[in-house]
Each structure stands twice: as C-alpha cells, then as structure tokens.
Amino acid sequence: MATTPAPTRPGPVLRRDVEHRMLGGVCAGLARHIGIDPIIVRVAFVAAATAGGVGVVVYLLAWVFLPAGDAPAAPVWLRTSRGTIEIAVGIAFLALSVLLTFRAFGLLFSDVIVWPLVLVAAGAALLWRQWLGGGLPGGTVHRAPERAAPGGDAAGPRPADRSAAGRRPALPAAPATPADRAALVSRTSLGVALVIAAGIAFLSATGSLSAARDVVLSVLVVAVVLAVIFFPWVLRLVRSLTEERAERVRSQERAEMAAHLHDSVLQTLALVQQRSDDPRAVAALARRQERELRAWLSRRAPAAGDPPRLAAALETAASEVERDHGVAVEVVAVGDADLDAPGEALVAAAREAMVNAAKFGGGSTVDVYAEALDGEIQVYVRDRGPGFSPDDLPADRRGVRESIVGRMARHGGKGEIHSAPGAGTEVELTLPRSPA
C-alpha cells in the first residue's frame, strides 16, 4: 500500500470505521453524513489540497471545529440505495462546493479549474464505485433495514461487531446478470469520457497561460488522468487484501456461533442436572433453550416494520403458554400468511386452545399444526389428555369454548372442538383466507 501517498491512502481505510479513520475522520464523517463513500470525499479534499493547499486548511479547520461524532449508526457501506449516476452527480456537486469554498477564502481559482475538477470528480465517482462494491446498485441494500433497526440485537452497539457487519456487504460485487454487466460497461465508459473531457477542457482553457505553467499543468493533468484511470487496478489489489480480512471475520463469526451454542447448551445441561428432581422445570428449561437456540440459529428475529406473520405469532403464543403452564407446546407450520385482523383472532383462539390443552391435557405435549395453503388457514391444537364427552362439557370450560368457537365465528371462520373420553381433545380452527 505504499502505492499511494499517506493522506490519500484510501484503500483499506475505507473498510473501517471511526477507529480506522485516516486523520481526523473529517472525510469519513462527511461521507457518512451525506451517505457516500468516504473515498470520494477524500479525493475531493486531496484534489483541493493539490490545487493550492486550501484543502488542507479546510480540513484542519473542520478537524478543529467539527465535534467528534459518536460511532456511526450505520456503516457507510450500507448506502447503496442510491444509483451510481446519482452519486456521481452528488460528487460533482461536492467538488464544486469545495472549490467554491476556496473562492470564498479569497483564493485564486478560475472557472477554468473549477469545471474540469467537477468533471473529474464525477468521472472518478463513476469509475471507482464499481471497484468498491458499489457496482451493483441496490446490491447491498437488504442489509440496511436490519442494521437500522433501533434498539436492536446484541450486534448493534459494539464497534467490533459493527465493523464486521459493515464489511460483509462490500464483498459480492461481481455483476450478476448481463444487464448489470452492460450497465457496468456503460458506467465505465462514461467515467473515462468524463475524466478525459476534464483534462482536455482544462488544457484548452489554460492554453493562453504562460508556457511554463502550461507544461507543469499538462504534466499534472496527465498524471491525474492516469491516476484516475489506473486507480481501480490498485484498488483491486487492496481489495483482495480486504477479502482476506473478510474471510477472517467470517471464521471469527463461526467461532462466535460455536461459542454461543456451547455456552447455552452447557449452561442448560448444568441447570438440568441441578434441577433433575423437578421434571417439569427441566423440560421447561430445555425447551426454552431449544427455542432460543433455534431462533438464534435461523436468525428469524423479525426486523422492525416487518408485517407480523402467522407462524411466528403461533410460535410466540406457544412459547408463552409453555412458559406459563410448564407444558411442552410443539408448533408445526406449513405455509405462512400475513396477519390481518381475522388472522389475529385466529391466533388468539389458538392460544386459548393451547392454554386449555395445557390446563386440562394432563401434562401431555400439546401439538399445534397450522396450515396456510390454498384458500384457507387451518389450525389444529391437540392434547392427549383425558378428553370429555361433548354432552357433559365441564362448566368451567364452557366459557373457554365460547371464546374459541364464538371468536372464530365473529371473524368469518369456524371453531370446532372434538373430544371423547380417553381420546384427548382436538380444537380445529378454520379461517377463509383473505385474497392477497
């Protein structure tokens, strides 16, 4: 990485957070603020610095006056919801504003320099983005909602986790479809054209200046053009290093997962041994652990704002009943459905049935089966308890029965209770599915 001078060294730093800022974190902060790559901001600053040293002054001032922000809420890598072109335009404006700032400082900048630099900035943004994991617009967007979820999981607040999570989405950048590839090619050509145009515009506009200055500037411009065009190859080098690091992160995550599993399993086993005289407590412990683990493994934690789903709601109800009544409730769901008002009534009725089964099922496992396939949703709640004859329904269960059967009827569904002495009880709930 000795290929680039110290302050412009954008490669690996880009992958990092505040802890890996380059100098004062001004560019990173700015980039985060407007939601683009810090590299682009940095390039703008460096360009400004080489063109009169004002970039340095502005940077130092910003360093002094900008307060050190908290750790970013979302890694800068998650911003890809914007199109590349949009970003390029944004960069152009950014460069423009930086140059106008120079002018406000009373520094001598002619429009001759301003416009080519703006063009270069836009072209650079186009060229470089695809090498920085942004080649596929929207390719990493799906990460954003779960990251942005407020008060989220344990992965949220720790910087180490964030940098790990932030790095992951930057990896897959290979164009997936021919359309993507075509877009990539056209973006590349557009970027190259912009940069070359900037060089030519600059040279022709300054042609009237003194010969000495011409030579210096021409060399400078050629150098800049070459740097802009070949920077991607340098970046690719840096990128392979980054992928190595990402691989390390992944294996670290795997180790973390193993640690989580072992901790929870071992802990539960210890508790089970301690309380081996109380089978119910043991079963409850084991099942709670089981649920927790399974949810953790499948990362089913619903993102904030996701519509509630039938299977998840039934799982939740089951684990609550399990916890409150110490009876195992096994949920099997086939298909799934969004929860509308009748769906919620269905879950509530199913929950009643589970509570009922837990109370009167003689401690047997409660089996819940939900099927949301064609046209209707069916839920069966079954226990293997003593059962009863429908004719002499115990008085204390009549109300419950009403709350199941009546509730379903009110929402256009059907609730039936099948039971016979010695054969357990099964509650059957049916709800016509509202057309999607």
Partner: protein, 228 residues
C-alpha cells in the same frame, strides 16, 4: 409389535457424552444396545465391527455429522438402518440427513418409550416421521402438483419420475395427521385403513423425499452445504 423376532441391536452415535448416557438409560431393557460412538470416525468403525441393526444418529457432529456417517457406512457396504435424532429442527438439517439415507427423524425431546418404538419401526423397515418432519415434507411438496402428474391421473404414484415430485391426497392426509401429532394406529383408525397401510404411505413419502428433485428439497440441500 408382537411379531418382532428379537430386540434390534442399536448403536448410539452422538458427540455429547451426557446425551449418549441419557439415551442408553432410556432404551435399556427396551432394545439391545450394542454400543456407542462419539465421533464420525468411531461411528464408522463401530458400524463395521458391531454390525448393529439400527444406528441412532446425531445430525450435528464435528467432521460432517450424521450425513457423513451415513455416506461412509454406505461406502463400506451393507449399511444398517439409520434413525436420525437431533435437537435441530432446521429443515435443511432434517432433509439432508433423510436424503442421505436415514429412514426416520425424531427430535431429542422424544420419550424413551416412543424412541424405542421408533427404533423398532425403523428396524422393521418402516419410516419414522416426527410431526416437524411431516410439516417440512408438506411444506416442500406444497403447491399444485406438476401438470403432467395431474394428466396422468397421478393419485397413485406409478413410479415414473413426475410422481416422485408430488404427494397423493392420501399421503398428504397421512402426513397432516402426523404433523398434528397422531400416532400411526390413531391415523389408521381415523382414516379407516390398516396400520400397515399407513406405514406403506409413510414409506412411500420417505422414498419421494429421498429421490425427488423438487426445487424446495434441493434448495434446502444447498443451504445446508452453505452452512457447513
């Protein structure tokens, strides 16, 4: 059950010593426990030397897990019957081990009596589906059956390939009852068929599960590989 000539010889494979001990004490007296093994290598060795009838197989173990044991035992020739036993309810785990060749899948929360029953059933060549597995199968085979199967009047699996990719209404009905927690004999009673017929239906489903190319099944298999 009365016709079982001898208690099946069982090998217990699980990397948790506590769990092996637990299963052993649960099954003691119900089946003939030939031995146990804690690793994939041990398991493959013990299968060769002890020649058990049924292997109770943990899905999750280091070095490839239950799937690897089944694969290597099959390579040795004359493999025993496998009953997968796991705390994992992830579809991809369950389907992977069934497609590798296990004849059944039960969760570790199963009672000793039910487990012994499942072992006997597998020993006799039947399939054992937990409610969860039945649910996965229904999920995987959900949706309209392929058009060619309908055209062929596909109620009865005729053994041609499209028939592998969908379930008959009867099989679906049996699976739904399994998922609802019914036992084979209860299902037989409710559907008015013999327990043997129920077993035949479940075995047919097992075969489809192992041989079908349905998209859902291969997708789960792929996810499984990614996890490993």
């Amino acid at each position: 059950m009365t016709s079982v000539p001898a208690a099946p010889r069982v090998l217990i494979v699980d990397d948790h010593q506590l769990f092996r001990a637990g299963v052993r004490s649960e099954l003691e007296g119900r089946v003939d426990i030939a031995g146990d093994a804690a690793t994939v290598d041990d398991a493959v060795r013990e299968i060769a030397s002890l020649a058990p009838d049924v292997v109770l197989l943990d899905v999750h173990m280091p070095d490839g897990g239950g799937v690897e044991v089944i694969r290597r035992a099959a390579a040795q020739g004359d493999p025993p019957r496998f009953l997968a036993l796991s705390v994992s309810d992830a579809a991809e785990d369950v389907i992977a081990v069934i497609r590798a060749g296990a004849r059944g899948y039960v969760t570790k929360s199963i009672s000793g009596e039910e487990l012994a029953d499942a072992v006997r059933r597998v020993h006799e060549g039947d399939a054992v589906f937990s409610p969860k597995l039945a649910g996965f199968v229904l999920d995987a085979f959900a949706g309209a059956p392929p058009a060619e199967a309908l055209a062929g009047g596909g109620d009865h699996g005729t053994g041609d390939d499209p028939a592998l990719d969908h379930l008959t209404p009867r099989e679906r009905e049996v699976l739904r009852h399994l998922a609802r927690g019914y036992l084979y004999k209860e299902i037989a009673l409710r559907l008015g068929i013999s327990t043997k017929t129920v077993e035949a239906h479940v075995s047919a489903v097992l075969r489809k599960l192992q041989l079908s190319n349905r998209h859902e099944l291969s997708r789960w298999a792929v996810e499984r590989r990614l996890v490993e």
